[in-house]
């Protein structure tokens, strides 16, 4: 009986610790790569407006799509379980979705890296249905798509935000 008890407590505990250690390392590495790549695309913003107020001629336009599927680690899932009791913002999930959105926008840009601007950017978030129960709510897909615009010559845009 104590052995069974130890196993039933120990395995989830090991998973949570593993999720905490490896998960936070993955997250840090991911944020570093996101920030570096966003800096590369600094002068080529993704806009959510349809019209681009530019004085230059547009040469061509085509669709750019990027998507990513991410999931939370066990530690964050465990924390969110507590948060569900008291209510309030689940910060551990916010960082996950933030990462996913920025990654998706970056992939959209990378699908057409030579474009000068990305207009009418749309972001869609959908939950991937899990095979078991409500625990799979931590797996989401973020899709970013927009129209990549190529100018005839270099644009004279003012300094713009990263995305």
């Amino acid at each position: 009986m104590p052995v069974e008890f130890l196993i039933s407590i120990g395995i989830p505990l090991v998973l949570i610790v593993l999720g905490r250690v490896v998960g936070s390392r993955i997250e840090r590495a991911h944020y570093e790569s996101i920030i570096a790549r966003e800096a590369d695309f600094g002068g080529r913003p993704a806009l959510s407006s349809e019209q681009l107020q530019a004085t230059v001629q547009i040469r061509s336009a085509n669709l750019a799509v990027g998507s990513v599927v991410v999931s939370v680690d066990h530690f964050k899932r465990f924390l969110s379980g507590f948060r569900m009791i008291f209510g309030g913002e689940i910060r551990s999930y916010s960082s996950l979705i933030d990462r996913a959105r920025r990654e998706a926008v970056l992939r959209m840009k990378e699908s057409d890296p030579d474009a000068d601007a990305y207009v009418n950017t749309r972001l869609e978030t959908s939950t991937i249905s899990s095979t078991s129960g409500n625990e799979g709510a931590g797996t989401i897909e973020v899709l970013a798509y927009g129209t990549a615009i190529h100018y005839d010559r270099a644009p004279c845009l003012a300094s713009s935000p990263a995305w």
Binding site: V69, H74, N120
Partner: protein
């Protein structure tokens, strides 16, 4: 949480099964498919090799219907046994039966997955001619004619292997590359179906393209792409 992992793979198998079963109707052991297959692939290569010759040398009693006590005696006169083994090789015996089973089916299944990326590539190449935008015009090219709504969709089930990998990845979080790839493939297929439809209408651009995703069943999701087919200058 371990229970969840196990549960994950169980359900994954159930999703995968209808596909596997269709291709091997002559077997009943659908439940142990996956475990079986890896053995079968190995067995195919053993057929008709030197190992069968050795096998026959080892059991001369079965061919000659001699008494077991005579076996050591038989083995000493190896050349006699060798003759039996040669004729025995073309005989259908119990030990040949595993080789007749479904290894080929498994290979077909894999081949169809393997040739899929090239299929997508062809579709992508054909698509190059059309302009896709998600704004309501094509910049710099006025619209001559509207053809109306065009759409393409696909419903995709998860892959058993990917599902299992995703279950493991769930522990540490981060990106599930298998699913990303799966959804990307599906989306490009939906898009190419939409483009085909536009192409048939005689359009040279699709404007206002929208994507939606909805899950239609456990482990399966529909991906829809739609837009307005137009003719631009």
């Amino acid at each position: 949480m371990l229970g969840k992992l196990l549960h994950d793979s169980e359900d994954g198998t159930q999703v995968g099964l209808p596909v596997e079963r269709r291709r091997r109707s002559h077997r009943n052991e659908g439940e142990v498919d996956l475990a079986n297959r890896s053995c079968e692939v190995g067995r195919e290569r053993e057929a008709a090799g030197p190992r069968i010759l050795l096998h026959h040398l080892g059991e001369p009693g079965l061919i000659d219907r001699n008494l077991v006590a005579l076996q050591p005696f038989d083995l000493r006169r190896v050349f006699v046994d060798a003759k039996h083994a040669l004729t025995g090789r073309s005989k259908a015996r119990a030990c040949y039966e595993p080789n007749i089973s479904c290894t080929n089916d498994a290979k077909f299944h894999r081949a169809s997955i393997a040739c899929f990326p090239s299929l997508l590539l062809q579709e992508a190449q054909r698509r190059v001619a059309l302009i896709l935008t998600n704004i309501d015009h094509v910049p710099g090219r006025p619209i001559v004619q509207h053809f109306g709504l065009v759409q393409g969709s696909t419903i995709r089930a998860k892959h058993v292997g990917r599902d299992f990998a995703a279950g493991l990845k769930n522990i540490v979080g981060g990106e599930l590359k298998g699913y990303t790839e799966l959804l990307r493939e599906s989306r490009s297929q939906a898009t190419s179906r939409m483009v085909e439809q536009a192409d048939e209408l005689g359009a040279n651009a699709v404007i206002n393209v929208r994507f939606t995703t909805s899950s239609v069943a456990q482990g399966a999701s529909e991906i829809l792409a739609y837009g307005t087919a137009v003719l631009v200058e």
